[in-house]
């Protein structure tokens, strides 16, 4: 649950800082001095606005995005900017992008948008570009270098030469465990741009990279995957402090590969389960090819939500605002050198599960 945090309550909380939703800048010790300072931004992702027909849209997905926008606007003090992590639309339609865009327009503050495959594969991002501009770019904010990538492109053969219609191409890419699908990638052209962009940045500057798909390989069947992830990672590794934040997976994930910390964000639309490859033992459940609708089927917002991202000393703390559920916090632990979930810790500090009944 999210609590509105005021300056006063932060003062009252005193040393308990770190468990709070937002830290007013004035209260934060500047760990790395110079021109950098700590700040927060909000992150909303994967709204999958879906047109039924005409002015009729799927209510459930509408309500998720509306709620995220309304709550993000209540944060005190206001976040520095808002990220939208991709998949604003379900099938890339102009109507869907417009309807979702209208909801996003109510957000206070500057909005940055990441391209998702559901926004892209109908018209290859043409209408999206009119609304949100270039597919990849970088910007600097309070001493941190931010990079936005389009990580959901795939081979030219698949994109341009395989499908009789744009609609079918969109549907094929939207499918899960679809043998007709194709793995995502950042691609050679964009990697070359990234290399040029990063060449101009000091290796001490913290990096935060936004992509839609994970820039790591988790599960190919659902494109929890970027085919050239290793090559992208290689461009990022020389930097001391790197964070990659991605959507697409509709669940909390975190990982550390070398210098790169990974955080996934929640969807406002629906949650995905853990992919098969992560199962610790055979699950013996039917192969899941339909959405796990939600953890508590009564509350359609359960297991969805949005995030506050605090940036402190260039490290990311992701505060998951989970509706009808408990807030979770994933923060970089400098001792362990990787992100950890504040509630679900290392095995040795967890309470033992019940093994007998």
């Amino acid at each position: 649950m999210t609590k509105l945090i005021t300056r006063r309550s932060v003062i009252a909380a005193g040393a308990a800082a770190g468990t709070l939703t937002t830290l007013p800048i004035s209260m934060v010790r500047l760990a790395f001095g110079g021109t950098r300072e700590d700040f927060s931004f909000t992150y909303i992702s994967d709204s999958h606005i879906q047109q039924i027909k005409g002015a009729s849209f799927v209510r459930n997905w509408d309500m998720g995005l509306k709620r995220a926008v309304a709550e993000a606007n209540l944060i005190i003090p206001e976040a520095d900017f808002v990220m939208f992590g991709g998949d604003l639309a379900q099938l890339g339609k102009k109507e869907e992008l417009d309807h979702g865009g209208e909801m996003l327009s109510h957000l206070k503050g500057k909005l940055h948008v990441v391209m998702g495959e559901h926004d892209y594969y109908l018209d290859l991002g043409e209408y999206w570009t009119k609304l949100y501009g270039p597919h990849w770019y970088s910007f600097d904010h309070k001493g941190v270098h931010f990079v936005v990538l389009n990580s959901i492109i795939t081979t030219d053969e698949w994109t341009f030469h395989r499908w009789p219609t744009a609609e079918q191409r969109m549907l094929e890419m939207a499918g899960l465990d679809n043998p007709n699908g194709s793995p995502f990638m950042v691609g050679e052209k964009q990697r070359a741009w990234l290399k040029d962009d990063l060449d101009k940045v000091s290796k001490d500057t913290p990096l935060i990279v936004f992509s839609h798909s994970p820039l790591q390989k988790i599960y190919k069947g659902w494109n929890f995957w970027t085919d050239d992830a290793e090559q992208v990672q290689a461009l990022l590794q020389p930097f001391k402090t790197v964070n990659v934040i991605y959507g697409h997976v509709h669940q909390i994930q975190y990982n550390q590969i070398g210098n790169i910390s990974f955080n996934a964000v929640m969807a406002t639309a629906w949650p995905w389960p853990y992919p098969d490859t992560y199962a610790q033992a055979g699950a013996h459940v039917p192969v899941l090819t339909v959405p796990m609708n939600r953890a508590d089927p009564f509350f359609e917002r359960d297991a969805t939500g949005w995030q506050m991202i605090d940036v402190s000393s260039g490290r990311v703390t992701a505060r998951y605002q989970l509706w009808d559920n408990q807030e979770r916090v994933v923060a970089y632990d400098p001792k362990l050198g990787k992100p950890v979930d504040k509630r679900y810790q290392e095995a040795i500090v967890r309470k033992a599960p019940q093994l007998h009944y």
């Binding site: 649950m1 005021t6 309550s9 459930n60 709550e71 009564f298 509350f299 917002r301 509706w323 009808d324």
Partner: protein, 380 residues
Amino acid sequence: MRISQVRKSVERALVALPLAALLVADWAMAEPLGLPKVPIPADNPQSPEKVALGDKLFHDARFSIDGAVSCSTCHNDKKAFTDSPLRVSEGHHKLTGTRNAPTVVNAAYYTSQFWDGRSPSLEDQSQHPMVNPVEMGLPDHEPVLKIVREDPAYIEGFKKAFGKSGRDVTMDEVKKAIASFERTIVSGDSPFDKWYFGGDRNAISDQAKRGFDIYIGQGRCVSCHVIEQTQALFTDNRFHNIGVGINRIQDDVPRLAAEFLKAKAAGASVDKTVLADPKVSELGRFAVTNSFDEIGAFKTTTLRNIAMTAPYMHDGSLKTLKDVVKHYNEGGKSPGDPWPVNPYLSGGIRPLDLKDQQIDDLVAFLETLTSPAYVTAQTK
């Protein structure tokens, strides 16, 4: 035989045993059909003396600034312990607050009190209306203590119930006595209970049985207004934004929330603020927890005796049970409302697509939840 019947017969057998201790613990009542044992706090055991004292306190109008308002003014015995048909309660000098008086009947089972749950127990709850500016209006609890320490009947009553007198009688004893009395106001044995737990096939009509199917199915009512295998409290003791009140003020939420939190941090009383300001009142549970998840959320009330306690919802804004069902049927707004559903709406609320006949059936089911004691409540 249903599990409930097994449990009942086991309990009857136990009560029949000559176990004095058990009988003392159970002196108040065997719980009615459809209800579990009333939870009794360890530090406030029931006794006949304490209940009688609480009864007297509950009905004493001297605990108000104008000597005209008692607990029972808004929780009237003859009106199923509400002030139906008032929309919101009237306090001293006919001042009105912002909320509809919830019934005391079965309030003993709630895990928190008031529409926004701002009070953790019946004991705690009982002290607040006395000093709320729009309810009983006392400046503090001193006038109450003066009366209970000096009135001969109360001196006798507190002696019997607590073995205390003079300055040893404090608000702690007053609160405990009122709560003990309220814990005796429980009521099951409705036609629904007789049908569902008692196995009497003819206890409710065919229309009401169809309504029950909607209640647990397409209507999605049972997810919050809980019915269990052996009992039915008709509440999940949680808080939900169902689009009542909050829809109207949704555009004001950013300002109201910020201003309210600022005032609260500066020491403003939640109890006084939410009853004084109709807009702040609509923030609901958020005023207590500061949680976004509970903006505009109010407690799931019991549905027992609901047919006798119109009007409905925390603000008394819906006149009939049919209006209530229609509000849910539209997914959290009433037909004709000029405003859309608010963005903070509970994820459990969505359009139900019930037809007119189904709505009538569901209302017929809700009308089977009236206990014999309240069939003749004077609330119409």
